[in-house]
Amino acid sequence: MITKGDKVLFFSIILLSFLIFAGFQVYGFAEGKTYVLIEVDGKLFQKISLGQTSPDLKITVPVKTGENVVEIEKDRVRMLFAQCPDEDCVRQGWISRPGQMIVCLPNKMVIKIQSDKSIKQDVDEIVY
């Protein structure tokens, strides 16, 4: 009674939903404000909102071995200068999407981009 076509359909729907889910994970939410969070040693150092109107900034962050410099330009962020020996974080370049992050491991410094999940709050107010 369950045909081969049914099974193929079943698994292709599972695959499709995972693809959509993955797509949202990669590209983040299209809406909502995004913030950049700079954390040093697990503690929040600064939280700056990103957007087309935000000014270009260079932020100096004191870390264990000296100072790192973070550059913010409109809606993207990068590590401009780091004191660590390998400078992986600098080579990573710009990040702009929610969920992305730059990590400077030797200095225990993290730059994260997050979005406020305003979409989810909207949804909770609907009465179905």
Binding site: M1, I2, T3, G5, D6, L9, F10, I13, I14, L16, S17, F18, I20, F21, F24, F29, A30, E31, G32, I119, D122, V123, D124, I126, V127, Y128
Partner: protein, 181 residues
């Protein structure tokens, strides 16, 4: 007589569907996803499609949605269930007509469930004008897959049972000859 039998059968399907819709609203959904539900009433649309076709399926779905909304009292949900119901019925009828050999009733029910979810999310995001609602689509699809499996199996057994009963009762066949006697 044949015509009346069809009318009575379809109205029975509508009333069963409305009751299932009502009962379904009382069952709490264990998922925190808006719009997730069992879709038991879909069994009736599936049977209408299987025995008659697209037109009758649409009739059952539309009337059942209106009565269900009146029963549950939440008329705002009519928009969601109506668009989802119409679109999924059209897709299911098309699949039943053209891909009958590929999919059984279970597969057609799966297709209908996923289409229903998609239509619902689309309507909701048009109303709220945030396309971020599509985030919920994969979760709804996975839930819809399992509820669709269940409704499809239920519809399959109901259809088999009805078919044997109908053959015994001569539901579709030579009834008129008895009438004329």
């Amino acid at each position: 007589m044949q015509k009346h039998r069809k009318k009575i059968f379809l109205s029975l399907l509508v009333s069963f569907g409305s009751v299932l819709h009502f009962i379904e609203n009382m069952i709490p959904v264990p998922f925190p996803v808006p719009g997730a539900k069992l879709g038991l009433a879909n069994i009736m649309s599936l049977i209408a499609i299987a025995f008659y076709g697209l037109k009758e399926g649409l009739m059952v779905t539309v009337i059942r949605s209106i009565i269900g909304a009146l029963l549950s009292g939440s008329f705002s949900s009519l928009l969601y269930s109506m668009t989802g119901g119409i679109l999924s019925t059209v897709v299911m009828a098309f699949a039943y007509k053209h891909f009958k050999n590929v999919f059984s009733l279970v597969g057609i029910s799966l297709l209908g469930g996923v289409t229903h979810n998609f239509a619902q999310v689309t309507v909701a995001s048009l109303i709220l004008s945030t396309f971020g609602l599509y985030v919920y689509l994969p979760f709804l699809m996975i839930i819809g897959l399992f509820t669709g499996l269940f409704t499809g199996l239920a519809a399959y057994f109901v259809k088999q049972n009805l078919e044997t009963t109908f053959i015994q009762l001569d539901f579709f066949g030579e009834e008129q000859s008895n009438e004329t006697k």
